[in-house]
Symmetry: D2
């Protein structure tokens, strides 16, 4: 199925395999007149680039983006923006082992079940490199949001048993784990190093906060803002859970403790005293910060010996070689941020026509 597209008006279509000649994305529906250059995209891509610390894969992927269409004289034209990253680090290694077997925790088996065969080089389409297209597109969405006064910031909330205890936005890009808390980052270092020593890997939780969101964005019923955020985040390969606001802890709350009281701010604006709801009520933004979280599973590629089966239906043992991240969380932070931005950009464009008076502002001013 055409499963590589996302969004209704601000709509992206990604393509490319891990070890194919290129990976890319087409971003359609971007309003004309947005200033945009390759550097705007590259900054985001560099945040997911591997090899930036000893806790990420040592693969050398420069991942330089090219804008192939959709801009003119430094601005978007309203036509589809095509972007591509040409692969350079294509090891001509021997894939015979991975080709024949089904790695635990990977999509090798399910791709074969669905398609009958697969591009097994580096995980093919199920590789984490697929997120390059998401991040390139998300960079444009973020730039559009910025023009509307909206900022999206993701960071690591926890790694294994280490949870952030303070929030310093400046700190996020200073430590290799994207923690907004230097102490947590330090504690995580020893945890992850411990896992690396055991040829094992770690998981964690990423949190994303959106500031400046106007109220009234999102649609009732199936196109709720939180429903689309849940889909967006759960579509990231390693994510196994998504929550909004207080999330799973609402199961332990009572109505009185979970309800957010409204009050009138000095400037006359309606606000909430608490934000258990995470900025969304009935699927529509309420003007408070949006707060979403995603649970990231530990990297399935571990160097330890594992039992599994091969395509011939035999029980075998494998030991996965290659250069793998002992933890995906830090590199997934920008992916969570970008998927969030994509959902919001689309919801804002789609939501322009909710009222007749807004329609008249554009077509009968």
């Amino acid at each position: 199925m055409a499963g590589s597209s996302f969004g209704t008006i601000f709509r992206i279509t990604t393509w490319g395999e891990s070890h194919g000649s290129a990976i890319g994305v087409v971003v359609d529906g971007v309003p004309s007149g947005l200033s945009l250059c390759e550097e705007d995209i590259q900054i985001f891509l560099d945040r997911r680039k591997p090899g930036q610390s000893k806790y990420t894969t040592k693969r050398n992927e420069s991942d330089s983006v090219q804008i192939l269409s959709g801009t003119f004289e430094g601005r978007t034209t309203g036509t589809p923006i095509s972007m591509a990253v040409f692969n350079q680090d294509q090891h001509s290694r021997d894939y015979s082992e991975i080709a024949a077997c089904y790695r635990p925790g990977h999509a090798d088996f399910t791709f074969d079940a669905k398609y009958g065969f697969r591009d097994y080089r580096g995980g093919g389409r199920s590789s984490g490199r697929e997120t390059i297209g998401r991040v390139a597109a998300g960079a444009i969405a973020s730039k559009l949001l910025k023009e509307l006064g909206i900022s999206v910031t993701a960071y690591t909330r926890s790694i294994g048993s280490v949870t952030m205890e303070s929030f310093d936005p400046e700190e996020i890009n200073k430590n290799p784990f994207s923690f907004p808390d230097a102490d947590a980052a330090k504690k995580a270092s020893s945890l992850v190093e411990d896992a690396m020593a055991k040829c094992d890997s770690m998981g964690g939780i990423i949190e994303c906060v959106v500031k400046g969101m106007p109220s009234g964005v999102g649609d009732p019923v199936f196109e709720k803002l939180d429903a689309n955020l849940a889909k967006a985040l759960m579509s990231i390969g390693a994510v196994k859970g998504v929550e909004i606001g207080d999330g799973f802890s609402v199961a332990h709350a009572t109505g009185l403790s979970n309800n957010d009281e409204f009050y009138i701010e000095e400037n006359g604006i309606i606000a909430k005293r608490t934000n258990h709801a995470g900025g969304i009520l009935g699927g529509i933004s309420d003007g408070s910060d949006l707060v979403v979280r995603a649970a990231i599973k530990p990297t399935p590629s571990v160097a330890s010996l594992q039992h599994t089966v091969n395509r011939e239906g035999e029980n075998i043992d494998i030991q996965i070689k290659g250069r793998h991240d002992p933890i995906i969380v830090p590199r997934a932070v920008v992916v969570v941020e970008c998927m969030t931005a994509l959902v919001l950009a689309d919801a804002l464009l789609v939501g322009m026509s909710s009222r007749l008076d807004n329609v008249k502002k554009i077509w009968k001013p």
Copy 2:
């Protein structure tokens, strides 16, 4: 926006307000030849009907469904199936209080922010009665799945601090909380009665298990099976979190402990020794049981005094009258089950064309 539709091929469109003349759904894309009568639908609707125990609202809603199109001589014809429930319990009560104010935890404020005004009678479109359309459609999806040997079963996993400790499928429909564990149900009774005494409400977690799912269903990237399940469940009004398999606890796992080893069953089928993944790898079903969970917030309508604001921008106090559920969880169980069934039915139909040899089976047999 056209936010009231869900699904690509098996596609539903719901409509109706809590206190309007009717509520309904159009189900398009149902294959022809499926045996279907109103009783098939009514059984599902009766499971979400209020007034079945002292723990649900005392409103008397008979919610009798009518099939208005799409069947002929007891079978589906392949054309859209329109179903409606005509409202009968429309109290001609005084809505002036609710009309003027923004109830905490409700969508009153956000609907006004989006649309400029709202149908305030009983919550209008944001009412839980909106789920009638989902359940009626889900009944058809479930029947289709049954024809393919797939069963979907949802139940209450926890209410407040009470979590199920045993699983007896027969028990689910025997206690007022839809717990598969009679002891848990007993414990929950006192918890909920306690909340009722305090004019407060409770939340919980619903779990849904799918058996008989073939491997190879779902699409990579954005149309992952788990991504669509996440959207489907998060689109239910009271849901604040969704997880697949081990969900949020993967954040504490390591790669070795979280990976599910493959092995060959005696019949030659490839199976997994564990199911941390919840039956989905890379967004595609792996043949194990699907396991999804949704966190349900406590009913926001509580009879206690609350602070809030009115449309005129004044701080006010309110006390919500009317007949409200002290806990939504039991009535939401069938909604979770139906949304899961809808996602699966659509994924199965969409997934028929993934391989050329399957295409030939239909068009060049």
Copy 3:
């Protein structure tokens, strides 16, 4: 497939069979605040009602519409508007002949080929009564367009060899053929009566003109305004051809004669001296009148003896009984008008976000 929906933001979903209990439509994505009552819809439905002259079927279909959701205190709320017409003229006649055979020019055979069986009563889903949903929805689209200063007017351009030679908008509703030319209507009368006498039927061409259309509406490439108009009109059962502006006659034109020169009007507005293009250039409206035409085939239900086959695969003769229109054109005029209005309403809502400055007008005023 989910083929009963049309439009992206202003999106309709129709349902119902000719002789089922009801026929209806759900209209989603209508902006809130549009004044709307059942009378607004009924006026349009009455224009397609049969039995208004001797040239249409004598069936008595009152076709009274009910609005079941989506309005409150006389205005649209932004939520889906569900409308239904309950069937009253359900003759409990004997359908055995039609059930067993494939009428020439009808969809009996193709429905069976696709679905394996069909609701044969009165044509089931392939009946012209299916257009009730389109017209009810189109009435709302027309009302929205009117708020933006846009009018849509369809009329009969030709019946058989009789083509309109003058245009008097007042005349359209005065003659039974919806001709804007009283003389043409008179000539058509004798043509059609002649066909009726021979137990035969006639076809014709419907033209639709849109005035007040702003420039800049429609999207390049696949969502061109003319592409969507072509789909919309060709989706009407009896339509076999669609053209925009000069249409098929451009095949005989030269570039110089077909190009429309631009010039500056006294008020400074850019206009065209001719309108061969029919108001659309590159798929986007140019500010001139839109002009579209649809070719309507003669009613396939004729009382003369015809050769055909039955479901058992035998060659048979049939004589179709019942009350059929000797010409569909007059009743299809309002359907063409409504499908045109639906395309424009959707294109206008979708097109609100084409420029960054327009996005800011709504979200950062």
Copy 4:
């Protein structure tokens, strides 16, 4: 809006401007296992390549396609197939004249009206070069259809007053006009040369015939096969009219003459004695040949002096320079063929789930 995508399951997304760095397409939803290489695509692209006769532009565009993803070991993998043609003939010419003015018959004015500015180099996104993506994608669709025994053949039916009078499929690729009639081609030569001498251009009609189409493909109501064909063809820049089967001439027919009688062939198959319907009844294929036609307007770029306006709102005269086709028809033939193939491929994949027994063939064999 996201207007650069087409199709539901077999879904394409095109991108690129005439004089940008590249033009391309992403084809998603192609079943796995289809043998595919760049040569399969190049053959189709070469048919739309200019410079092949004196009747097409002298521009030298080699248009070599690269497949960047979605195939492995010579077969499609089921993941998106990205293809690109890198532009080589990017004249660094002076665009100041075209940048400032609105060429008659072009989309310059409407793009500015919609987006506020435009990429004016060679027509930008509204250039005929946009069809490269359609043709590359259509080549894959054609290959898929061939696997199912379906062939799609387009050719020139008329140029100006010259209409084909015989049909020899071998002849189509032998003359510069893609006429299946050598005499017609000869007559057209002098017509077109005459137009060239006058610095003028010509239009014509393209016909497309599909053989081997199974019955039962297409969906009722809005997703009728003919509706989607109409949209597909009308979305081609120069097309102003589309018809199916007898098309506009049905307006002059009577029911008896227009109805196609069914009969039983010797092999027991149900067939039609005539094919006025063009192979589609009620929007669903009937097993006869599909016949569609598109009216192509004369090239708007003519070298003669024309009156128009500039962006500053002044009346001006222009003379369009550059190398333009005196007639687009021959190069558009492959585009019509490809758009037809894309519609059919999608309809076939979407239509696999129309019956429960077909669903069981795939999921419960």
